[in-house]
């Protein structure tokens, strides 16, 4: 039985495999601690050679490896009669120079439809530590690109991974899974947008140049805010930060001369008392003709007097408030995840049906070929015993043989064609192939 081995670097044509046999092995942040994930991690510089080595193993036709800080997944496709699991285990043991039995408890194994579902869920960020996180899609795309370049994707696995990327995009489009902010600094951006709509033309004022305020300011600038002022007790630190953001540094003593310019104030000084009190906020509002102000107070103890929130057109959020927003958003994402899972389920069914249908035509052709070969070879064998036949008789004999073959084939072919939608169809195709001795 000739086994195909794809060689890296060669352009392998898109081969229609006769049946699909997918196996996926993986660990993630839930099944394995960081030490194990570290051990299994394959750095991106070695990824290409890893994939090439994987598909060179006997019995493996296609392969893909995804290795991030939170997960490691290796998925392969093999001919139907090959047990791919041991091959993959052996590959992992060899590549990482370890005894894989020590790590068995951390690995999960998925086959066929479950493997497809897992891939779809991973790409759609449903398996991620933070539901709806955007990085995983890029990581999957990257893994796909590497595998394709290594010539490791040219059949059903290629189609499945492509579908996974499409499903991820669909989930992103049709659910709000990735939209609500689940980190404090992004929550600040989200709130700012809820107040100001677009952030273009809006001014940020950072009081107290620390790590957190820097991060929040960075996100706000990335989201479109245009101007930034920085003020700090030590002027040099303010200058540093202002320079990094192409903004203006303000001396702390002159804070209130410029604060009214700000639409968004991010405050994180170490001051033990309030930096902005209600009267000062009132003056700011008057100077701004009541245009709204958003105070992000991430200092402990707080910098902005909570009484400021009582004023019209001001919104004061301290660190706890931002945390509450994040919690509410996480619940929101969990709700969206339910819709996303439905979409994934639907797409898995569609993909399985599509892959099954691809099995049918070649199988029918192979069946017909096989039986016709039998018909011809038997006729040849018994030709001597038939003696001399008139052309009429010969025709009759051939018609008889063809009739038998067609009637025998009718049953299986009908089953193959009609069963394409049903879940047991894959097993049916394999059974028919085995029964009639039709191999790869």
């Amino acid at each position: 039985m000739g086994l195909r081995k794809a060689k890296p670097g060669l352009a392998v044509p898109r081969v229609l495999h006769k049946t699909m046999n997918l196996v996926l092995a993986g660990i993630n942040h839930r099944t394995a601690p960081v030490e194990v994930r570290e051990r299994m991690h394959i750095h991106e510089t070695h990824l290409s050679s890893a994939v090439s080595a994987l598909i060179q193993r006997a019995g493996i036709l296609e392969g893909l490896i995804l290795s991030t800080c939170n997960r490691f997944e290796a998925v392969v496709s093999a001919p139907e009669h090959i047990e791919a699991e041991p091959v993959v285990r052996q590959f992992l043991a060899d590549f990482h120079h370890c005894d894989l039995s020590a790590y068995d408890q951390y690995f999960y194994w998925h086959r066929q439809e479950e493997a497809v579902r897992h891939l779809f869920r991973v790409a759609a960020s449903l398996d991620s530590m933070i539901l709806g996180e955007p990085q995983i899609l890029g990581q999957v795309k990257q893994a796909y690109a590497v595998a394709r370049q290594a010539g490791a994707l040219h059949g059903p696995l290629d189609e499945v991974v492509n579908q996974a990327l499409a499903v991820a995009r669909k989930v992103r489009r049709e659910t709000a899974l990735g939209t609500a902010a689940v980190s404090v600094s992004y929550a600040a951006v989200e709130l700012a947008k809820k107040i100001f709509g677009s952030l273009h033309g809006k001014t940020i004022f950072v009081i107290g140049a620390g790590k957190m305020s820097e991060l929040a300011a960075k996100h706000l600038l990335q989201s479109g805010a245009s101007a930034i002022f920085v003020s700090n007790r030590t002027y040099e630190r303010a200058q540093e930060l202002a320079q990094a953001f192409h903004g203006t540094a303000i001396r702390f003593e002159q804070l209130f001369d410029y604060l009214a310019k700000a639409d968004i104030v991010i405050s994180s000084t170490g001051a033990p008392h309030f930096v902005v009190r209600k009267e000062q906020a009132e003056r700011m509002l008057a100077a701004r003709r009541n245009r709204p102000i958003f105070f992000v107070d991430i200092a402990v103890p707080r910098d902005i007097d909570p009484a400021v929130n009582e004023l019209d057109n001001t919104f004061v959020y301290d660190i706890d408030d931002l945390g509450q927003v994040v919690e509410a958003n996480k619940k929101q994402r969990a709700r969206e995840a339910v819709w996303a899972e439905e979409i994934v389920q639907e797409e898995v069914q569609k993909t399985m049906r599509r892959l099954a249908a691809r099995d049918v035509a070649p199988t029918i052709v192979a069946l017909e070929e096989r039986l016709n070969r039998i018909r011809q070879s038997e006729l040849e064998r018994h030709r001597a015993r038939l003696g001399n036949l008139t052309s009429e008789q010969r025709e009759a004999v051939e018609a008889l043989l063809r009739g038998i073959v067609n009637k025998i084939l009718h049953g299986p072919i009908t089953e193959l064609k009609s069963g394409a939608g049903r879940p047991e169809h894959g097993a049916l195709v394999q059974l028919i192939r085995r029964m009639f001795g039709v191999g790869d």
Partner: protein, 276 residues
């Protein structure tokens, strides 16, 4: 008013409204095309119904309560489409469309009372009616924007995001909608009142200036004028302005409907209410 066409519009509106609900509940970024199609078809049917009514009496079909409500509902739906296509506020339908539906429903079930007083003719009258209705529609939008603003502002102030927080547009968008519709509504209302005065001074005798509807419309106009000027100066921004817009809308509804029942000459029931 062609009854079948109006009922058809009503059914399509109902269908459209129901179809918008999943998009709002599931926080989608846009309304489904099917809901928009249903509403659009409803609008077309509504327009046809109005056109038929207009053709029947050879003037704008606003001469009785039934037609006036229907015309207003029609304009409100047109306004909905304008605003939705510009701002893509998914929740807008929840605020505007039920009102449209109720107005159209009332209009469809009221008996037909054609009111073809020959006195009700003339170019000034047409301008008066058209600008009043345009003004009403624009100020309806001001009201809707104000309500959305108030709800969103409360959610943001409370710092506990609840259902509306996720589905309402930003305060800025509400504010912009409020401002722009006011900029359209107040001039239209002013023009309407002015042309109304001009026409009435020619057509009516007696102290028509004291007619309840006219007095009510002046009060409404004053409220919106105050809203406009404080908006310009910035004294009342945000929440206070929104409250005033709500009061203005209440005054508008009183003028539109309530005074009609009380008014003598300007009412739709000339047999009720007599001038002093």
């Amino acid at each position: 008013m062609h009854p079948t066409l109006l009922w058809l519009a009503l059914i399509l509106y109902a269908l459209g409204i129901l179809l918008t609900l999943p998009s709002v509940i599931r926080r989608r970024a846009a309304l489904s095309p099917t809901s928009l199609a249903a509403l659009g078809l409803g609008l077309v049917s509504h327009a046809a119904a109005l056109a038929a009514a207009g053709a029947q009496i050879h003037r704008l079909p606003v001469t009785d309560v039934r037609s006036a409500l229907s015309f207003f509902a029609f304009l409100a739906t047109v306004a909905f489409f304008f605003v939705y296509l510009r701002y893509r506020i998914t929740a807008l339908g929840v605020f505007m469309l039920p009102l449209v539906f109720v107005l159209t429903l009332i209009s469809a079930v009221r008996p037909v009372r054609p009111f073809a007083d020959p006195a009700f003719r003339g170019g000034w009258l047409l301008v008066h009616i058209a600008s009043i209705f345009l003004g009403y529609t624009a100020l309806l939008l001001t009201f809707v924007a104000a309500v959305m603003y108030l709800i969103q502002e409360r959610e943001l102030k409370s710092k506990k995001p609840r259902a509306f927080y996720y589905r309402l547009p930003s305060l800025e968008v509400c504010d912009e909608l409020h401002y722009r519709s006011l900029m359209l509504g107040l001039p239209c209302l002013s023009l309407g009142i002015l042309t109304g005065f001009v026409w009435a001074s020619r057509a009516w005798q007696g102290p028509w200036e004291l007619d309840p509807k006219i007095l009510a419309s002046l009060v409404t106009w004053l409220i919106y004028l105050v809203l406009f000027s404080t908006r310009l100066s910035g004294t009342w921004r945000g929440r206070r302005a929104a409250y005033v817009a709500v009061v203005g809308f209440a005054a508008m509804m009183v003028t539109f409907l309530g005074a009609s029942f009380l008014s003598g000459q300007h009412g739709y029931f000339p047999e009720f209410g007599k001038l002093p």
